[in-house]
């Protein structure tokens, strides 16, 4: 067996069926070993596309996403995808090829120090220098990627190591002295929280991506049913609690709902569950939930007190802590508070003005939400459309709202949708992108066409960089520096050229029929929707302001 075959055997031992990647000189041994291995390889058109696709696959299935690339430029093209996965805690294993061991450090052809480059953006990385370490490394990489707070792990393997013959056996156990993810924490802390819940008059729950990752949404739902505490979500937590539930108040933060931001500002107990109190959520930290006792439930000890001072910390897996909390918690006297937040929700819903002459971007998202009944996989790119999707797509199921939250990676949407569709072949996958982001990885239409993936890509086309323009409109005196493209690209035709179905929508009346046509079409379809280019994402909290000071809403 060669080193490359050992790596492939390791992947199979980890249950990997599908990998994404792009070959190259230093990766030839690995690709040769893949050839008749039974593992399906999806050839992206750019390594960054492969990385985002593996990420979409991982987020939508909960499995580890695997991505391969060759040395040097192949490996560096993964960097944005690795950083994206790192910020959103996505379990992934990246395998990069490296130049031969005798060439390392000599600025050899296609050499890059990828372990050095990715140190700050991986959970861990390895450079394998001895063939006997290959299988152990693969096993450790998968274990590190998927346990505790998940994240991307990179394995860099020199070409000669993949070519060496040897007797390889997959290790049964793992011994990492410095890595002990904690599953069970301290139950007395949960008692403390239960007592605080009993006493609170104005409690709130704030859920994030950690709940989705832990897969603890049903435990969470029982906790809410029992206590009646209202719920707000971060962008990453969307779908973990059904958007149509009475106690759901919407997204919190910069583009959150009036109700969510008011409720958190006024609450006396804030229970953060699998969140990291990102600055897009807290606004001015000193004015964030100023009256509240703050509780933080998380698996990562380094998240506690990182951004917001915590009064009760509950470390451990939510699969452990939430059932225990449900069991111990008794509802407090919160009827008046419930009445108050539900009144806000009634009086101040998200809204936009319909206009018969131009297509409002929000109405595109709303129409998709209606057509799919909030149950499809919805993958977004980054920008205004992403925030409208977060606001107007009534996501009812967990793991189905897929978006680059932490890094805010433009170009993420289309490849991630490819990954989500490959991971969920029988489900419906929609992607919403802006005309800016779609251009950043537009070559991946070819990948979707090659595999005839029935993804429905909707481009909310406002002829430029909408979010940049919004900030320029509000904060830079309408000086629209470099936020408009000088040429118009016919994206429907581009899609057609790649072999997908392309539809162009220019009139409001064409929208619904086009979306329905896409919904029924079996194959990749692109709908380029020309929308009103003056629209702002509202409400909006200016960066660094307290979250109850909102523009619009």
């Amino acid at each position: 067996m060669t080193g490359a075959q050992a790596v492939v055997a390791g992947l199979k031992a980890e249950g990997v069926e599908l990998v994404f990647g792009y070959p190259g000189g230093a990766a030839l041994n690995l690709y040769d070993a893949l050839y008749d291995s039974g593992i399906t390889h999806i050839l992206a058109r750019h390594e960054q596309g492969a990385a985002h696709a593996a990420d979409g696959y991982a987020r939508s299935t909960g499995k580890v996403g695997v991505c391969l690339a060759t040395s040097g430029p192949g490996a560096t093209n993964l960097v944005t995808g690795i950083a994206t996965a790192n910020m959103d805690s996505v379990p992934m294993v990246f395998i990069t090829s490296q130049v031969g061991t005798s060439l390392i450090g000599k600025d050899s052809f296609q050499e890059a120090d990828i372990t050095g480059i990715t140190t700050p953006i991986t959970k861990h990385n390895f450079l394998v220098k001895r063939p006997q370490d290959l299988m152990k490394t693969v096993k450790e990489a998968f274990y590190i990627a998927r346990t505790g707070r998940p994240g991307p792990v990179l394995i860099d393997i020199p070409k000669d190591i993949t070519g060496m013959e040897g007797d390889f056996t997959y290790p049964e156990s793992i011994n990492l002295r410095g890595y002990h993810p904690l599953f069970e924490g301290d139950p007395s802390k949960i008692e403390e929280l239960a007592a605080a819940i009993k006493k609170a008059k104005k409690p709130m729950v704030f859920v994030g991506g950690g709940l989705r990752i832990a897969g603890a949404w049903s435990e969470f739902a029982s906790f809410i049913e029992k206590t009646g505490i209202p719920v707000v979500s971060s962008l990453m937590g969307l779908g973990c609690f059904p958007a149509d539930h009475e106690l759901y108040l919407g997204m919190l933060g910069m583009h959150g709902t009036y109700t969510a931001n008011q409720s958190v500002t006024q609450c006396d107990l804030l229970i953060g569950i699998g969140v990291r109190f990102d600055d897009r959520v807290t606004g001015l930290v000193s004015k964030f939930a100023p009256e509240a006792l703050i509780v933080h439930m998380d698996i990562d000890p380094a998240e506690i007190n990182k951004n917001v001072r915590t009064d009760i910390k509950i470390l451990g897996d939510l699969k452990w802590s939430l059932p225990l909390l449900s069991q111990m918690a008794e509802p407090g006297d919160i009827a008046a508070w419930q009445k108050q937040v539900l009144a806000w929700k009634q009086e101040r819903p998200l809204r936009f003005e319909e206009n018969g002459d131009v297509i409002k971007p929000q109405s595109v998202v709303k129409a998709i939400s209606d057509i799919t009944e909030g149950s499809a996989f919805l993958v977004t790119d980054v920008g205004q459309h992403q925030m409208w999707a977060a606001q107007y797509y009534n996501s009812k199921k967990p793991r189905r709202f897929i978006t680059s939250g932490g890094l805010g990676t433009m170009g993420y949407g289309l490849p991630a949708a490819i990954g989500a569709q490959l991971g969920n072949p029988d489900e419906t996958v929609w992607a919403i992108a802006g005309d800016g982001g779609i251009m950043m990885n537009i070559q991946e239409i070819a990948t979707a066409v090659e595999h005839q993936l029935p993804i429905k890509v909707v481009v909310i086309n406002n002829q430029g960089l909408g979010m940049v323009r919004q900030w320029q409109r509000i904060f830079y005196d309408q000086r629209y520096s470099c936020s408009r493209y000088g040429t118009e690209t016919d994206l429907a035709k581009v899609a057609e050229a790649f072999g997908a179905k392309g539809i162009k929508v220019q009139e409001p009346g064409e929208l619904i029929p086009a979306l329905q046509e896409a919904n029924n079409y079996c194959g990749p379809v692109f709908i380029d929707v020309l929308v009103c280019d003056q629209e702002n994402v509202l409400p909006m909290v200016p960066a660094g302001a307290p979250i109850d000071q909102m523009i619009g809403g």
Binding site: T115, P120, L176, G178, P301, A302, N305, K306
Partner: protein, 168 residues
């Protein structure tokens, strides 16, 4: 306030860079960092002195370092009774007429003269940081040519080794 952390790590290439990189990336200030082998061949001990504004910052440093897979254990030696040492070598001008003065100073500080040239001397001193600072200050008058210092290493007085202690 300054804190001295003993960080036990896997003896692998790149770990020191990883640790110093993590600390600088999170905008914390490293006062000194030393690394060396230990009683176990596969373990390196890093002594890290960080200057932090408050306890939250220190907690973040410890927690973030603790997340690194190659970090086995972190002990805050500021909180326990411990011995702290720095090693310095100081090269000074030592013309024959000043030599006896310098020898006196070296004796007072219980330092050692490790090299003598017709015009210069090299003095070695191990001790706590301020003792070394004091010697440097006194020698200034004789003209210091160059100084090299190791940065702090520290060891607790307790009978329990850092690797076996309960903390983190």
């Amino acid at each position: 306030m300054k804190h001295t952390l003993a960080v036990l790590v896997e003896n692998r290439p790149g770990v020191l860079t990883h640790i110093s990189g993590l600390i600088s990336r999170r905008a914390f200030n490293i006062e000194s960092i030393t690394a060396g082998s230990t009683e176990e061949s596969d373990m390196t001990r890093i002594t890290l002195v960080v200057d932090v504004g408050n306890d939250d910052e220190l907690e973040q440093i410890v927690n973030q370092l603790g997340k690194l897979v190659d970090v086995i254990k972190i002990i805050n030696l500021t909180k326990v009774d411990s011995i702290n040492r720095d090693l310095a070598m100081i090269k000074v001008w030592a013309l024959p007429e000043h030599r006896s003065d310098i020898v006196d100073i070296v004796d007072i500080f219980r330092a050692k003269i490790v090299d003598v040239h017709p015009e210069t001397m090299v003095i070695e001193l191990t001790g706590e940081e301020d003792k070394i600072d004091a010697l440097c200050e006194v020698l200034k008058g004789h003209g210091i040519i160059e100084i090299v210092r190791t940065g702090k290493i520290a060891l607790s007085r307790s009978a329990i080794a850092a690797k076996d202690s309960k903390e983190s």
